[in-house]
């Protein structure tokens, strides 16, 4: 797992911990003195387009399509007066905001331009389908924009994303059935789009595996008949660990290597991100 590339896309199903993992990884890299940008896409709880200095080496961007569109257009047109006419136009504003494809193109385009200003950019991608649509939208529009400068930019962007020396895709999942199935599906799509740049897998929030549970011999199927609601905390932790081991077989069957992160919680003196950052530093191989 090489998490030292310039661009690191953190992908996966909703609820698997992409935000925490991406933030913690950005923190880990920034602590090494590397200037790192942690990116969220259109977080409705933060001001659109806001760039925030967390520490001198760690920055956060809430990448948003209207602000990204304005910057991109300004860069391409070059003449401020023309840029202004263009951007104040209602039709153009509408296209920046709502048009699928254009929307994705400017969001990824913004990141692509920013890569010159940082050692690392860690991206907290929208969940599976929406994250994937950002790449597909960019690809589709690059085809539609035959001839124009936007077409060339889109092609260069996709080339950068497909280049394993510049970009890495990290698929985060949980040891639960749905997230694992979805991560395998996502992996298939990414492979098709970027065949030379295979993704790596991170299993987040892996529960401790109690040795008392005869995990090898028991299958969750054997519990059918009893209520799915656990009887006690002990019953729960034993069943959970058996379930998780069972679910991880889905990855093993596909011969997919993965790294596991333990089930972490904030402690009194450390929040979750710092705990997670330490765990990444200690357990995830950063080449």
């Amino acid at each position: 797992m090489d998490l030292t590339k310039k661009l690191i896309f953190i992908c996966g199903k909703g609820g698997v911990g992409k935000t925490s993992v991406s933030k913690a990884l950005a923190l880990t890299l920034s602590k090494k003195g590397l200037k790192t940008l942690w990116v969220a896409f259109e977080d409705p709880l933060k001001p659109p387009g806001e760039l925030l200095e967390i520490s001198p080496t760690l920055w956060h961007l809430n990448c948003e399509s209207i602000t990204a569109f304005e910057e991109y257009v300004g860069l391409k047109i070059g003449v401020p007066s023309l840029t202004k006419i263009f951007l104040q136009n209602k039709l153009m504003r509408y296209m920046a905001k709502a048009a699928p494809g254009i929307h994705d193109l400017v969001l990824l385009g913004k990141i692509w331009f920013e890569r010159k200003n940082y050692d690392h950019i860690v991206l907290d991608m929208p969940s599976t389908g929406y994250g994937l649509a950002m790449f597909q939208g960019t690809e589709n529009f690059s085809k539609l924009f035959q001839g124009g400068p936007t077409h060339r930019d889109a092609l260069s962007m996709l080339e950068t994303f497909g280049d394993p020396s510049e970009t890495h895709f990290l698929i985060v999942t949980l040891p639960e059935e749905m997230p694992i199935r979805e991560s395998l599906e996502l992996n298939g799509y990414l492979q098709k789009m970027f065949p030379k740049n295979p993704a790596s897998f991170l299993v987040n929030r892996s529960f401790p595996k109690p040795v008392t549970a005869p995990a090898a011999s028991q299958s969750p199927e054997s519990w059918i008949g009893a209520s799915p609601i656990p009887q006690s905390a002990l019953d729960y932790v034993e069943k959970r660990s058996i379930n998780e081991a069972y679910n991880l077989r889905l990855l093993e069957q596909e011969k997919i290597e993965f790294t596991e992160l333990g089930f972490l919680l904030p402690t009194e003196d450390k929040d979750l991100i710092h705990t997670l950052s330490e765990e990444i530093e200690n357990h995830v191989i950063l080449h």
């Binding site: 409705p44 263009f86 994705d104 924009f145 124009g148």
Partner: protein, 357 residues
């Protein structure tokens, strides 16, 4: 402030469950439908993206607009479990898993005045991207489906499990986002680019756009806009009836979330948005809770087991902080237990349905 899920089911004809991925929204929606059936409602659950086993246990093997009747299965499971919760004979239960991804094109065909117009629209490359990538498509189609099921008049309880979204608010915003495309003032400019009423500014802006994107794109864009222009009235009428339904007193929203104190800002944001849209917020369902589990002392176990038990206690602690904060703010909420395994059958779902408190 806790609330009774049964009184909500009594009050609303339609309940829409919202929430981000991984919170167990689909299982909860199905369990809610079972509960409504026990209460004597003619119930249908509309589910968009269930796990394979859950879909199987609801008898949903393929995407289809035909409901699967589960009334007898529920009766059998009920007789087997023989719970103290009463079951009304009047209730019925069905489930539907509609194909929202592929109904988008037929939706536009329906709006079009003629077959040729519909075909022209489908062939437009911008429309094709739009149909595939537009992030409001699934959401809007789910609402469209909801409307048509409700119009049948066959059900007095419809549970809509919303599709996975970018964020909790995306579902509420989808109709407006799609409506932006049909903004008459804007598409009129594209439809009549050479018309004299088009301002100098617009001409300049279009000129710049052409330089950036190439002339092929502009041609497609004008075609796309004229197609939208033709169906705009039909679409707006459709949007109005959907909005009317969503803002009516028959429809309530439930927010499904997990018991983490960190999710509170999102909850607040969601509730504000519901109010802003003049819809009705009915409460929070805290799913996957652990507080009901008796904690065993962590001694006398292997290190891994006691570590696991410590995590459970820590999670219970976080849950009680969440509950306390919800109480302080006076938000209505209910708790549902975390399960030890996946749902395999209607009987499993009945166990969950009985656990609503």
């Amino acid at each position: 402030m806790s609330y009774s899920i049964d009184s909500i089911l009594d009050q609303r004809r339609i309940l829409i469950t919202c929430g981000t991925g991984g919170v167990g929204k689909t299982t909860l929606s199905a369990a809610l439908a079972l509960r409504a059936t026990l209460l004597g409602k003619k119930t249908v659950v509309v589910t968009i993206d269930p796990a394979k086993r859950l879909a199987n246990s609801l008898g949903l093997k393929t995407l289809s607009d035909e409901p699967t009747d589960l009334t007898q299965e529920l009766k059998k499971a009920y007789d087997k479990l023989n719970p103290s919760f009463p079951r009304s004979e009047k209730g019925s239960l069905s489930a539907i898993m509609p194909d929202t991804r592929h109904t988008f094109e037929s939706f536009f065909s329906g709006l079009s005045s003629s077959k040729t117009h519909a075909e022209k629209l489908m062939k437009n490359p911008i429309f094709q991207i739009f149909a595939k990538e537009f992030s409001g498509t699934n959401e809007y189609m789910a609402l469209e489906k909801l409307y048509s099921i409700d119009s049948l008049g066959k059900y007095d309880c419809i549970i809509l499990d919303t599709p996975p979204s970018r964020n909790t608010l995306a579902f509420l915003n989808a109709p407006l986002l799609l409506a932006q495309f049909f903004d008459e003032r804007i598409i009129r400019w594209l439809v009549l680019p050479t018309n004299k009423i088009v301002s100098v500014g617009m001409k300049k802006a279009l000129g710049i756009l052409e330089k950036l994107t190439g002339s092929g794109f502009m041609g497609h864009l004008f075609d796309f806009a004229s197609s939208l222009f033709e169906v705009r009235m039909a679409f707006q009428a459709n949007l109005r009836k959907i909005t009317e339904l969503l803002t009516s007193k028959d429809v309530g929203f439930l927010l499904v979330t997990t018991p983490n104190p960190e999710t509170l800002p999102e909850l607040l944001h969601f509730m504000d948005a519901i109010k802003e849209h003049q819809m009705h917020f009915d409460g929070i369902a805290l799913n996957r809770t652990l507080s009901y589990l008796k904690t065993t002392s962590t001694e006398n176990f292997s290190p891994d087991t006691s570590h696991a038990l410590k995590i459970v206690s820590a999670l219970q602690e976080r849950e009680s902080i969440t509950v306390k904060k919800l109480n302080e703010k006076g938000f209505p909420f209910t708790l549902l237990p975390e399960l030890a395994r996946d749902i395999h059958s209607v009987e499993d779902l009945l166990n969950v349905a009985l656990a609503f408190n």
